[in-house]
């Protein structure tokens, strides 16, 4: 095992292929989940035709997207336009590299794992900007501007909220963060009122900010379809659009994974006695719980306006995240010594 882990040339490609497979399958599953959950909440049935409960519908959609004509309109900045989906996809792809799957097992256990995730995921904004700018479409440009403004702004409360956890665990390695939440669900950061109640507040702030980071309702302004037609990906079609699509759902899962690692113990079982269930099952179970909650929120809430988006970030989330950080730190100093 150590040999394997040590040999980056062997381990790297295998990990990449596995992550790519996970992302693809995740997109299929998440899209299906989104359709089904929204249908159930709206007294509908959702896709029913292909496969039991329409589970193969997304496969067929994916095939359709791949077969579709790739339209590149005149007046478009072609190199940027073509590169943008890969950057967006690549960024969300790379986030998975540090996922702690089980005790001691991660594709790459970086010492600065948290830092890496935050840095890489904000790279998505660059892709969005490129897509919006190169499309030579006013709606795309609006979407891109909104997307970048939002990503940059929400990075702040998100990072501060994550910092609270890092402070509690004393490490930036995601593996260590998980290990620190050992011993049953009452010790998970997001639920451990007895250990550090301010982490629970951070949990809420983190979750709200992560919604904005992955452009989900109520913060889906970059692609607000009722305002901006399609936002930054208005001009995309076919496989390039599919990459944006994949990236969006990969981001949803990544946000879910990070939330479960930081606040719900990652691969930690619900109870220590349930240790026999493998770690990845727990991790993905929790991550998909967050994905479903994201869908659930999307089906419930309207969208914010662009100035309100900034208001929520700078006037609500940043101050409260800072408060959580300071109070959490004080708590740790005073109570835990």
């Amino acid at each position: 095992m150590d040999f394997l882990m040590g040999n980056i040339w062997l381990w790297g490609p295998i990990t990449a292929v596995v992550i790519a497979a996970v992302i693809t399958v995740n997109a299929l599953v998440s899209v299906w989940l989104e359709r089904k959950v929204s249908a159930w909440m709206q007294n509908r049935l959702g896709p029913m035709e292909n496969g039991p409960q329409g589970i193969l519908q997304t496969v067929i959609d994916a095939v359709k997207l791949i077969l579709k004509e790739d339209i590149i309109a005149r007046g478009i900045d072609r190199p940027l336009f073509k590169m943008a989906p890969y950057i967006v996809f690549g960024a969300s792809f790379a986030v998975f590299a540090v996922t702690p799957l089980a005790r001691g097992i991660s594709p790459a256990d970086l010492d600065v794992g948290v830092f890496y995730v935050l840095a890489i995921s904000s790279f998505v904004a660059v892709g969005i900007m490129m897509a919006g700018w190169s499309s030579n479409n006013k709606w795309s440009l609006y979407g891109a501007l909104r997307g970048v403004a939002q990503a940059v702004s929400y990075e702040v409360p998100l990072s501060i909220a994550v910092l609270t956890v890092v402070m509690a665990a004393g490490s930036m390695s995601l593996q260590t963060v998980c290990v620190a939440q050992d011993g049953g669900f009452w010790n998970w950061n997001g639920l451990a009122l007895h250990r550090n109640p301010f982490l629970v507040g951070s949990f809420l702030i983190y979750f709200i900010a992560s919604l904005a980071e992955v452009n989900r309702t109520p913060f889906d302004l970059p692609e607000a379809e009722s305002e901006l037609v399609g936002g930054y990906h208005t001009e995309y079609s076919g496989m390039r659009f599919a990459l944006f699509f994949l990236a969006e759902y990969a981001n949803m899962l990544a946000a879910g994974i990070l939330a479960s690692v930081l606040f719900l113990g990652g691969w930690q079982p619900l109870l220590p006695a349930l240790d026999f269930v493998p770690g990845p099952v727990w991790l993905f179970g929790k991550a998909y719980f967050f994905v479903v909650v994201q869908i659930w929120i999307r089906m419930t809430l309207p969208r914010l306006r662009v100035d309100q988006l900034m208001y929520v970030c700078w006037k609500v989330l940043v101050p409260s995240a800072l408060a959580m950080l300071v109070l959490g730190g004080l708590w740790q100093l005073m109570i835990q010594g």
Partner: protein
């Protein structure tokens, strides 16, 4: 937030940017929230909108030209297609105009049934208005709940007249079909269901949702003076706090026999006349419609033939009339000129949404792009009616 509030009260219209340039942005004709094929030419400074120029006519289907060649009974199906979300109300407006010209008295039973179907259709139309308004705001689910309830109304209509959207039900002098035996029960059952759903589902999910309120309150404020001057009517007028409803103030049919009240915007969440008020007036109006429905179903005479007074040949006497009725969108007027022939010489329609839409420039200056969508949604336009 303070500076935004200033714009919204019209004290500051954004100037052109530092280099004197505004960007022209074409919203539509293909755009998800223009409710049809409307083109809004926006002059924007960043996200701020300096001017809105609506361009209409993309759905022009020559209604008025067709009317020159059709007899009044043949025009009725065409009126369906103007405001296709409230076809009953359009039928009613045209039928009443013709009947007033001909001096035709319709039986009391028919009058009551007309009120019942018109109010049902008002609810159906408001449900779409509210659902799509929520959709414009990004709330997906209320839309489906609204459609679910509207479906019950459409089922009743289908049972009564055979069509679900374009009814051709209210004829000059009568109705095309009588109600079925269990229609009254179905209507009452719908009323019970709907009353409950409105309070437990739509209002908490949409009307009082904080994000929704923040998106719509203090946005697109229309003053009563603006409303009167621009000819706004219906919920858009009442949303500005004007207590005026043609059903009460220029009564037609048997509306004067029911106990109900005209709902006006009160600025509950912000300023009087903002988008939230226009939305709220629609919600309240649906409740009032349910009240009218309950009374009308209880009071309606059950015996008699609904086609008793339908003339075998509808011939409008020479003369001209302007007749207006209150559709879900406001004042629908028909100006009919006849010289006594089989076909009217001229039918001019005064569509409510036409006038409501013309307000949009005045009330959305200084708003953001997202607000324009909200304002457009709250005005509740139907392009089929604007363009005819």
């Amino acid at each position: 937030m303070e500076s935004r509030e200033l714009f919204l009260h019209g004290s500051r219209v954004p100037d052109a940017g530092p280099d004197g340039e505004l960007m022209t942005l074409n919203m539509g004709p293909q755009h998800p929230s223009t409710h049809g094929v409307l083109r809004l030419e926006l002059k924007t400074d960043g996200e701020e909108v300096a001017q809105v120029r609506p361009h209409i006519g993309y759905l022009h289907r020559c209604f008025e030209k067709h009317c020159e060649k059709l007899t009044p009974p043949q025009i009725v199906p065409y009126t369906d297609r103007m405001d296709y979300l409230a076809a009953m109300n359009n039928n009613l407006g045209f039928a009443i105009a013709c009947e007033r010209m001909m001096g035709l008295e319709v039986p009391e039973k028919v009058e009551y049934m007309r009120v019942i179907v018109a109010e049902l259709n008002r609810i159906a139309s408001h449900l779409i208005a509210i659902g799509t308004f929520g959709l414009d705001m990004g709330a997906l689910t209320p839309y489906f709940y609204c459609f679910r309830d509207r479906e019950m109304i459409l089922d009743i209509f289908e049972e009564v007249c055979g069509a679900r959207l374009l009814y051709n039900y209210i004829w000059v002098g009568g109705l095309s079909h009588d109600f079925q035996d269990d229609t009254d029960d179905k209507i009452l059952r719908f009323c019970d269901h709907f009353d409950k759903r409105l309070d437990t589902e739509l209002n908490p999910l949409l009307s009082f949702n904080k994000i929704f309120v923040k998106r719509t309150a203090n946005v697109g404020v229309m003053t009563p003076e603006q409303a009167w001057s621009m000819g706004a009517s219906g919920p858009s007028l009442r949303g500005s706090g004007v207590d005026f409803d043609l059903r009460r103030d220029d009564p037609y049919s048997v509306y004067d026999r029911f106990q109900w009240k005209v709902c006006v915007g009160e600025g509950l969440m912000g300023t009087v006349g903002d988008c939230w008020d226009r939305h709220w007036v629609k919600v309240l109006e649906m409740k009032e419609s349910v009240k009218i429905l309950r009374q009308a179903v209880a009071a309606r005479p059950k015996d008699g033939d609904v086609k008793e007074k339908v003339p075998t040949r509808v011939k409008l006497p020479a003369g001209e009339i302007y007749c207006r009725t209150e559709t879900p969108r406001g004042e629908l007027g028909f100006y009919i000129v006849s010289s006594g022939g089989n076909q009217p010489e001229r039918v001019k329609v005064r569509p409510p949404a036409f006038c409501n839409l013309s307000v949009i420039d005045e009330i959305s200056r200084g708003a953001l792009i997202g607000d324009v969508v909200a304002i457009l949604g709250s005005l509740d336009i139907v392009l089929g009616e604007i363009d005819r």
